[in-house]
């Protein structure tokens, strides 16, 4: 997994609440058996008309947000289906992080397994960043995971909370299957006490 330490990038605003994973990556694109190539389908029904032509006015397609790597969105981002394809699509499109005042649990979990950061700020802070991303030309932010801090060049600064272990894994790009398997002896001991039912 690619480590996440400090990232600076352009910010795109997506000013909607409760953005569910069906919007992030619609179901017709879940049939691929690879982890790659989902970026072209990101927010598909919002970005493309039914005939496959680009819709006018979708914010991510505005030239001033081209190359954005940080998304600011409304509360409860990533709710709904557990599809990890949502994270794969955001990452493949070029995003490294989403900022919101709240995230659905499974989405946030999936993010951490892919070196993709979900930054939780207060509602006021998230709203302020939304405003700046909409109003300030070429607006950029720095997300500093070592300091657990978000800052811009205009004096905005905010701390964000994150589980210590999750932060450790992200900073070091650790594969958590490997970490769990460090406890092989304890797993084996547990299994000796709790054998599976006989096969039927």
């Amino acid at each position: 997994m690619k480590p996440f330490r400090t990232h600076r990038g352009r910010v795109a605003p997506l000013d909607r609440v409760n953005i569910d994973t069906d919007q992030i990556i619609p179901k017709q694109f879940l049939k691929r058996i690879e982890r790659t190539g989902f970026g072209q389908f990101l927010f598909y029904d919002w970005r493309f008309a039914a005939d496959g032509k680009k819709s006018a006015n979708f914010v991510l397609d505005e030239p001033r947000y081209e190359g954005a790597s940080i998304l600011v969105a409304g509360k409860n981002f990533g709710c709904g289906s557990s599809r990890e394809h949502a994270v794969w699509a955001l990452a493949d499109f070029g995003f490294r992080a989403v900022i919101s005042s709240s995230f659905a649990d499974i989405f946030a979990n999936n993010g951490t397994k892919n070196g993709f950061l979900t930054v939780r700020l207060s509602e006021d802070e998230a709203a302020e960043l939304m405003r700046r991303a909409q109003e300030v030309n070429a607006y950029r932010l720095t997300i500093d995971l070592e300091q657990c801090e978000v800052r811009d060049d205009q004096g905005f600064e905010a701390k964000f909370p994150i589980d210590g272990f999750v932060r450790h894994c992200l900073l070091n790009g650790l594969d958590d299957i490997g970490l769990t398997l460090q406890h092989e002896a304890e797993i084996a001991a547990y299994e000796a006490l709790h054998p599976p039912a006989a096969a039927r």
């Binding site: 919007q23 049939k31 029904d45 709904g80 557990s82 599809r83 450790h168 299957i177 398997l181 299994e191």
Partner: protein, 469 residues
Amino acid sequence: MAKSRTLFEKIWDAHLVAQPGGRSPILYIDLHLVHEVTSPQAFDGLRAAGRKVRQPSRTVATVDHNIPTEPRGTPITDLIAAKQIAALQANCKEFGVRLFDMDSPDQGIVHVIGPELGLTQPGMTIVCGDSHTSTHGAFGSLAFGIGTSEVGHVLATQCLAQQTPKTMKIEVRRRFADGVTAKDLALGIIGQIGTDGAAGHVIEYAGEAVRGLSMEGRMTLCNMSIEAGARAGMVAPDEVTFAYVKGKRFAPRDGEWGKAVEYWRGLPSDEGAAFDKVVEIDAAQLSPFVTWGTNPGMVAPVTGRVPEVGNLKESDRRATELALQYMGLEPGKRIEDIGIDRVFIGSCTNSRLEDLRAAARVARGHQVSAKVRAMVVPGSQAVKRAAEQEGLHRIFLDAGFEWRESGCSMCLGMNPDILQPGERCASTSNRNFEGRQGRGGRTHLVSPMMAAAAAIAGHFTDIRDWKFQ
């Protein structure tokens, strides 16, 4: 004296394998359910790392999400879907995982077959790469959805590193009125606490109305926990639970049964156990509900109206306006005046025998409205057989409903069962997100009885006034 613990805490504590300092606790997983959509990349990860499935006997797979509901044996015309199904078949063979395949008499929606095969049992930890895994909490198990990376983690280690969630108790006092069901309770709860109202929490549903629910009703209720943002939903096991599990194919047998029940009886939350949050609901105040918007919290009683936007505070107004625009509804419209084009009775929320019986009772002796296309998709092959033995399929077919093969079907529209742009559907499924049932489709979530009544009336109608025949 030992500390009073909740049902959740007892199961959590019993499955802790290790609590490494400064890291998330490592939890043992008793049962891992697998399906075709969220598993191929996980199996690829195992292959790439040269790992095996640690406990094939605790891993069970089926195909449900993208399979057609045409008669079995009809070729799958969607080649990408066929490839995904073939990948699961090959992966199960390579890694020694039991698969209930397309042609199996036990095939069905993963959250329907787990319980009906007796794989789902009280006190277990259960995961699946599907958010509606919360369904299995109806048995007093800790069951939650995971992403594909975590699917790979469980395949390789039979464990998960998990942050400890918070606990929430939802106490449902008194009883439902006739015509009000577990689905209406679920919608009523989400309408009250919001789609993120239980984020970070495991819900325990308790109280008289919950005790009075059948296992099917408890599954419907726990299934929708994720729609309130919960990590999981649970109901303490009781005699209703034990009677359901007993004799099922994978349930404990003989001497094991008595031992298991004795353990299960110790699982309910202790008197005085503390929850991080408590919510109270009065079941007697609930009505049959219909969602009007684009998330399950946008809900109104069938006798109510679509909200007037002007009354809302600014932050809710925009979301409501966007939802009404997508749904093609005017503010203030009466719910009973909303006409429909399609009806879907099915999904892991409401496709079990009891759901089909309830819908059939409404449909008996009536005809589906000439402008409505209605389909019934049983949750599993076993549900389908049982329904046919009772003649439910005859009632549906005579009334003009389609009677199809089991699968997830139009709940998420990964197979050919989808809405056309602008079509409006009364659906017994769990999500009314934009495009969920097909691009441009408009979904209203309801109970099976309300869906059947809407099919016949051609618009939403209060099931409490229904003329049963």
